[in-house]
Amino acid sequence: MTVLRDRVTTRMAAPVLRGRFDPLIVVVVGALIVVALTYTLPPFRTYQLATVGAYLCVTAGLTVLTGLNGQLSLGHGALMATGAYTLALWQNRFNLLAVGILMAILVTTAVGAVIGLAAARLRGPYLAGLTLAVAVVVPSIASTFDETFNSDQGLSVVLNPPPESMTVEQWQAWLSWGAALVTLFVLAMLVRGRFGRDLRAVRDDETAARLAGISVARTQVAAFVVSAACAGLAGALFAVLAQSVSPGAFPLTLSLFLLMAIVIGGLGRLSGALIGAVLLVGLPAVAHEIGEAAGSQRLEGNLALTFFGVVLVVVMLAAPGGLASVRVPVRRKTRAKKH
């Protein structure tokens, strides 16, 4: 099965993901940069930085699922909602944030496992259709069980104030980037090893992978579970950042945005996940400015939608590997010299 293959991973298999940057260095440098930014940026920008970090958790997981393993999921917005609601419910009962985040991850992982088991047997448009159905249907669950979930109005999230040395936004940024960098590190390590090879092998040629002794179903479920855990984490972070959850925060378009972000960012590369996360925060912000300047409220959200759609279509037609792959020719020449 050849799915959304990114040109780079086709031509060069393992070396691309292996040799580029040592994950530990990336994490340390990243942490330093984030800390520096939190002390230099104005509060709103710091908040946006925090949001990028939260998105990065889910885009990284989705990059592994779709880019490396070739499974298209349109339901990760719903998984984020699962994480978010779990956190909200936990916090409103117990107010223990660290455990709450863990609970969010666990619950979402369980849900992800269920979907993943169903999904492992599906291919192509069938998988897309199933996950699309999940994304469309899950918001209605909140409406049905409205005592627990308070239906469309949603829930507010109980949180402790940050330590006195920090502003709320700084604390938020530290939290979400702490989570994001840990996620990136874990994923990078997973992907470099046996897991990553198995993922790509299954994506590129299932039969060959099977013949090589890889359990296709197990790999696919594992990929789904990993990406679900990431989505749960991201959802929990969003609940913390927004200090509330509601069905309206997790519409179908969120799942589509996530997909778009990783496709535009470049599938199969964790750096693409970062590009995607930045886009997810940056583009709507730009659209908001334009909307304000034009004095039109309609413009705002919809401009971002349209813009995302246009960029996505153009990128898919012109460079199926995503924007991150456009840089490739330069690197390929350098590598060729080494060989």
Binding site: R5, V137, R298, N302
Partner: protein
């Protein structure tokens, strides 16, 4: 018992709409091996066109016809300008591009019309008739049956009795051989998309007045239901699409009627999961055999 009969007819009426929409999906699948995930958004766009026309002229029928024409144009346009250039070596590229189109269409509609729900008009009364003291069908339901029935009959005639239909089928089954026989395969593909989009438009026009109203995302759940219907029937099978649509319509009607309307979407999801896990080829598809020999 009364309730059951009422729900049955209501379900068939809904089912007819899903059948039409599923037929549109099957048409494109057979012609191009793509599931057109943008079908719903395209239908909504033409429904908004109808809305504008009705708003300006007061005539439902004029809006209706213009919407269908808009559907033809939109379908042909999407194929010619976008889908033709998709790298089909991966089956998911078409899906991703279609989803991009969904974003574009919903965004543009939101910008032009705003995100409030607007009322969608109907030409006929939606009050149910009474037959033997039981509320059964409304004039509107009869209109729906008639319209969908006409579409099915017309499409069947087109594909089985006309040279163009023969060309379209040949182009879908065996593109290379067809080209050798003088069939413009590209042209037939465009025609297929145009027809499918028009059928999808019709389905949208028929269903939207029965929902919350006109909204850029109004067809999302209809798409899911119709996709489920197409999968139930088998993506390859037009008859399957029609029967699948009726089945899904009935199911939703009974569940909404006996368990509550908010449970209905979950029932669709459950049905989809069941079919995909149990019999992914659908109930009526022929197992894939060689297309040419």
């Amino acid at each position: 018992m009364d309730r059951f009969v009422f729900l049955t007819f209501d379900g068939l009426s809904r089912g007819a709409v899903y059948a039409a929409f599923a037929l549109a999906l099957v048409l494109i699948w057979r012609a191009a091996r793509i599931v057109n995930f943008a079908q719903g958004a395209m239908a909504v766009a033409t429904a908004y066109v109808a809305y504008s026309v009705v708003d300006a002229t007061g005539s439902y029928w004029l809006g209706f016809i213009v919407a269908l024409l808009a559907g033809l144009l939109l379908g042909a346009g999407v194929e010619r300008v976008v889908m033709r250039f998709v790298d089909h070596s991966s089956p998911l590229n078409g899906v991703v591009v279609a989803l991009g189109l969904v974003l574009i269409i919903q965004g543009v509609l939101g910008m032009v019309y705003g995100n409030e729900f607007r009322p969608a008009s109907t030409p006929f009364s939606r009050d149910a008739f009474e037959i033997g003291g039981v509320a059964l069908l409304s004039r509107y339901d009869l209109f729906v049956f008639g319209a969908v029935g006409a579409v099915v009959v017309l499409l069947t005639l087109l594909f089985t009795r006309t040279p163009t239909g023969l060309r379209m089928r040949a182009a879908a089954f065996a593109p290379d051989v067809s080209r050798l026989l003088g069939v413009s395969v590209g042209g037939m593909l465009t025609l297929g998309w145009a027809l499918a989009a028009a059928v999808g438009s019709l389905a949208g026009l028929l269903v939207l007045p029965t929902e919350l109203g006109l909204h850029p995302t109004a067809m999302d759940i209809v798409f899911i239901s119709a996709f489920t219907a197409a999968v139930v029937g088998g993506l390859d099978s037009p008859i399957g699409a029609v029967l699948g649509g009726l089945i899904v319509g009935l199911l939703l009607s009974y569940i909404s009627g006996y368990l509550g309307a908010t449970v209905a979407p979950m029932a669709v999801l459950a049905l989809l999961v069941l079919v995909l896990l149990g019999r992914p080829d659908g109930l009526f598809s022929s197992r894939s055999k060689a297309r040419t020999a």
